[in-house]
Symmetry: C2
Subunit: 135 residues, 2 copies
């Protein structure tokens, strides 16, 4: 399942246009599990995803990619080894490649837009990564 979802060619690779705009709130309302990103669009070899999160994720880094977070609802902490970045709605942060970080929703659920290279494991490790399903 995971491999199928990740290896599925993107709309751009298939030469297809998106039928219409993507409403992020509607996409987020269509599922309820946490730390399980859904792909909503493709851009230049990247997955554009929405995710609902609660609690702490694992410490990880991505050797080959920056990691883009835009908070839509709630308040996210991004722990770095020397400090914590806190993001509210309409705030974004890009963790540079190679930098260890731990996303954490410690004050209720957080809804976010994420952008990562297609096929990149969200934990930095294929063995522990979540399946990214296209919705």
């Amino acid at each position: 399942m995971a491999a199928d979802a990740i290896k599925q060619p993107s709309r751009a690779q298939r030469g297809q246009e998106m039928a219409g705009g993507v409403n992020l709130r509607e996409k987020l309302d269509s599922f309820s599990d946490h730390w399980s990103p859904r792909i909503v669009a493709d851009m230049n070899g990247h997955d554009v995803m929405v995710v609902r999160v609660d609690g702490e994720f694992t410490w990880h880094s991505h050797a080959e990619s920056d990691d883009f977070f835009l908070v839509l609802e709630g308040e996210l902490d991004i722990d770095l080894r020397d400090r914590t970045i806190t993001l509210g709605p309409g705030e974004l942060y890009v963790v540079p490649k190679g930098v260890e970080h731990r996303p954490a929703a410690r004050r209720g659920e957080v809804k976010m837009l994420l952008i990562e290279p297609t096929g990149m494991p969200n934990t930095g490790d294929e063995k522990t990564a979540a399946t990214k399903v296209r919705i």
Copy 2:
């Protein structure tokens, strides 16, 4: 000026982390001109930008890149040759590379998040492109 702004190395290229999160509303409130994107972050060779727009842009396409639009305030039309995609706040669309499009704010000002490869002219043509300033 334009060349300086575009050729400036990204934070990621300089190996620097962003000091903190980027508040998109604050960034948008810091300027008032239209169709003049400001770079607020870097991600994997892309500029993450905010822009305020009003009226119609020019028809154009980008041969080598998809074009990402996320509306934050207002209502944006993206004219394609066969239809128009309309986006409200919290809605996104990715125009595939090579596809002609004309963004248009026809019902008041629109504020957006844009993502494009670093150095890509926003009109698809260096001669007519806006300078992208980092803020």
